[in-house]
């Protein structure tokens, strides 16, 4: 059966989260020469219809990019016991569902270190998308990393909004970034989906550095993006598609240890990252992978040890 992929509201080409999912699906399609179904949601209310329509049409497995599918999937999963579902960023406890969650705090920790090491002002910024625990998890990891690299570092944090619209508001992303720059930030990390396009744009326009998220966004403004926190949604989608109808259900945690999380260095940003920065970060990554260094997960107890 054809697999299917449903993107969240930010849209397939948000250059970030959804686009990562798309990349994974494309990779699978190119490698296998097979086809898949996909749809971009236009509104909250369509989640269930999209899910059902694919299930009705016999798509299998059906992958959903985004936590917001949780409740729709809860509804639908039981009605199609023979269909396998995979949901990203959310845990749904159904026998035919694979829940893929990422240790975003780990990757954010790494880019936080890079940001603090690169910053000349000692102030770095964070622009989140929708204000939800998941994004706070990014922020918290980032702050921890920055403080680890420079205990005196100041981190300015802003969230874009409280609704899914916060994923697709580049104007607001840019304005928030400009505000942070005026407060002294010279590196700004975003975890804001399509909104981040505006963040990186503003950073580039104002001559400071941005940090991308989810996908490798270094190419968007070569030399102006310090790095990108890689959340290998593409791998998750690729794996789910590859597994096909034999998809293993249950919870799958993707972290530094299993290559699900990382940071990006390529020709667009190699000049920005010195050897010692790289060494420091790689060391931390190794420690996290080995369990020697534990980055606090905001979602574990809804608190963050550092501000």
């Amino acid at each position: 059966a054809e697999p299917a992929l449903i993107y969240d509201l930010g849209g397939k080409f948000d250059k970030s989260f959804n686009e990562a999912a798309h990349t994974g699906a494309q990779k699978w399609a190119e490698e296998t020469g097979e086809t898949y179904r996909e749809i971009e949601l236009q509104s909250e209310a369509q989640r269930e219809q999209a899910l059902r329509r694919f299930a009705e049409a016999g798509a299998n497995p059906i992958v959903m990019a985004g936590f917001a599918f949780g409740s729709a999937l809860d509804e639908v999963a039981d009605d199609y016991p023979d269909t396998k579902f995979a949901i990203i960023d959310m845990v749904t406890d159904k026998p035919n569902v694979r829940s893929v969650v990422f240790n975003e705090h780990e990757g954010s920790y790494l880019v936080g270190m890079l940001a603090a090491m690169k910053s000349e002002s000692g102030t770095v910024g964070f622009v989140g998308g929708m204000d939800i625990p998941l994004i706070r998890k990014f922020a918290c990891g980032y702050v921890q990393g920055a403080k680890a690299a420079n205990p005196d570092a100041t981190v300015i944090q802003n969230m874009t909004g409280t609704t899914p619209a916060a994923w697709g508001d580049p104007v607001k992303g840019a304005e928030l970034t400009k505000a942070q720059i005026s407060q002294g930030a010279d590196v700004v990390y975003h975890a804001a989906g399509g909104t981040g396009v505006g963040v990186l744009q503003a950073a580039a326009d104002e001559g400071i550095l941005g940090i991308g998220v989810d996908s490798n966004q270094n190419y968007m403004h070569p030399g102006k993006v310090l790095t990108s926190m890689l959340k290998r949604v593409d791998n998750a989608v690729y794996e789910a598609f590859s597994a096909g109808t034999d998809l293993e259900t249950g919870i799958q945690v993707m972290g530094i240890a299993n290559g699900g999380i990382g940071y990006a260095i390529d020709e667009n940003n190699e000049a920005l990252i010195t050897a010692e920065m790289k060494a420091a970060v790689d060391e931390a990554a190794a420690k996290i992978a080995s369990g020697e260094l534990v980055v606090h997960d905001y979602m574990a107890d809804s608190t963050c040890p550092v501000e």
């Binding site: 993107y7 849209g11 080409f13 909004g161 104007v171 505000a179 005026s182 399509g194 505006g198």
Partner: protein, 321 residues
């Protein structure tokens, strides 16, 4: 709130007020001539898309601007056809134009760029870059004046300066020229214009097309100045806020400037703060988002001042004895 933050917020206000101001002045021409226009939003949106698309394809933001104006004028023409030539309901026509733009932009963007209804990001010459005014750098060291001139006044794209310059120009056109006299007359009593031997149809088309031009600039600014590309529904209600500002301004150019700056300020504050803490009272961001609309309703209710629209507004001109 310290001085620098204030400058930042005002700076952001100017950027955000610009599309409102352009659209508001656009509406002013149309409505002063007696053609109500709730299709500002749609015209801006169409212009935003086509300007971004053409700027991307050609790499020239000026060509993009022209294309955006063209798209907006095309919709203005439809509005003119419906409300002037075929004497249809201007409100319904406006509603239709908004939907037409909302649908067509995504449809065409999707088939053109295959990026889920958006254009690729614009780079370099495909965008309006900020202009640094003379002496901005020289003055940057001066306290107080430096930031005001250097950050607040200088450093916007050419369209911003154009929008602000349009306020006195519009005033002058409306109140000091023959065209303005006739335009205002046709919005108050078209029969007077008609019997004076001047074509009501031509005047109204002129007004509607000027409205199209300005909406086009507003849309182009959104996509190529404020942002770097088109995304679906990127006007996000700005056309309606501009309409609200127009009512708030009682259809007068200078008032329009103040109204748009006020609404721009509200947007700037809403962008910057999730919740605004005013000494213990926390104003949620949603309140700031809807404040322009609430203010307009209060204003419309006539509790503060009275908004009297042009008398012949909204009505097609039918010859009567």
């Amino acid at each position: 709130m310290d001085f620098l933050t204030l400058i930042q917020i005002l700076d952001s206000t100017i950027r955000l007020a610009t599309p409102l101001l352009l659209a508001c002045l656009a509406g002013l021409y149309s409505e002063r001539a007696g053609v109500f226009d709730i299709g500002l939003e749609g015209k801006m949106l169409a212009a935003a898309f086509l300007s971004a698309a053409v700027a991307y394809v050609t790499g020239s933001v000026w060509l993009g601007l022209l294309a955006g104006i063209g798209a907006s004028m095309l919709l203005a023409l439809v509005h003119g056809l419906a409300s002037i030539t075929f004497r249809g309901n201007q409100l319904i026509s406006g509603v239709a134009i908004n939907f037409l733009a909302a649908g067509l932009t995504v449809l065409v963007a999707q088939s053109w760029f295959q990026q889920g209804g958006r254009t690729p990001s614009l780079m370099g010459g495909a965008r309006f870059e900020p202009i640094t005014l003379p002496f901005a750098d020289a003055l940057s060291g001066v306290p107080f004046l430096g930031p005001i001139y250097g950050d607040l006044v200088s450093g916007h794209s050419v369209l911003v300066y154009m929008a602000f310059a349009l306020v006195p120009i519009t005033w002058w056109i409306l109140f000091r020229t023959r065209f303005g006299l006739r335009l205002r007359a046709v919005g108050e009593n078209p029969a007077a214009v008609d019997t004076a031997g001047v074509s009501v149809t031509r005047l109204r088309y002129a007004a509607v097309l000027i409205c199209g031009v300005l909406c086009g600039v507003a849309g182009a600014y959104l996509a190529t100045g404020l942002q770097a590309g088109f995304v679906k529904d990127m006007t996000a209600g700005r056309g309606f806020i501009a309409l609200a500002a127009l009512i708030f301004a009682k259809w007068r150019p200078w008032n329009a400037l103040w109204a748009c700056l006020l609404f721009g300020l509200l947007q700037a504050v809403a962008l910057r703060y999730q919740n605004l803490d005013l000494g213990g009272i926390v104003i949620p961001v949603q309140v700031m988002d809807v404040l322009p609309y609430i203010l307009t309703v209060i204003f419309l209710a006539g509790f503060v001042g009275k908004a009297i629209p042009p008398r012949a507004g909204g009505e097609p001109y039918v010859k009567e004895r």
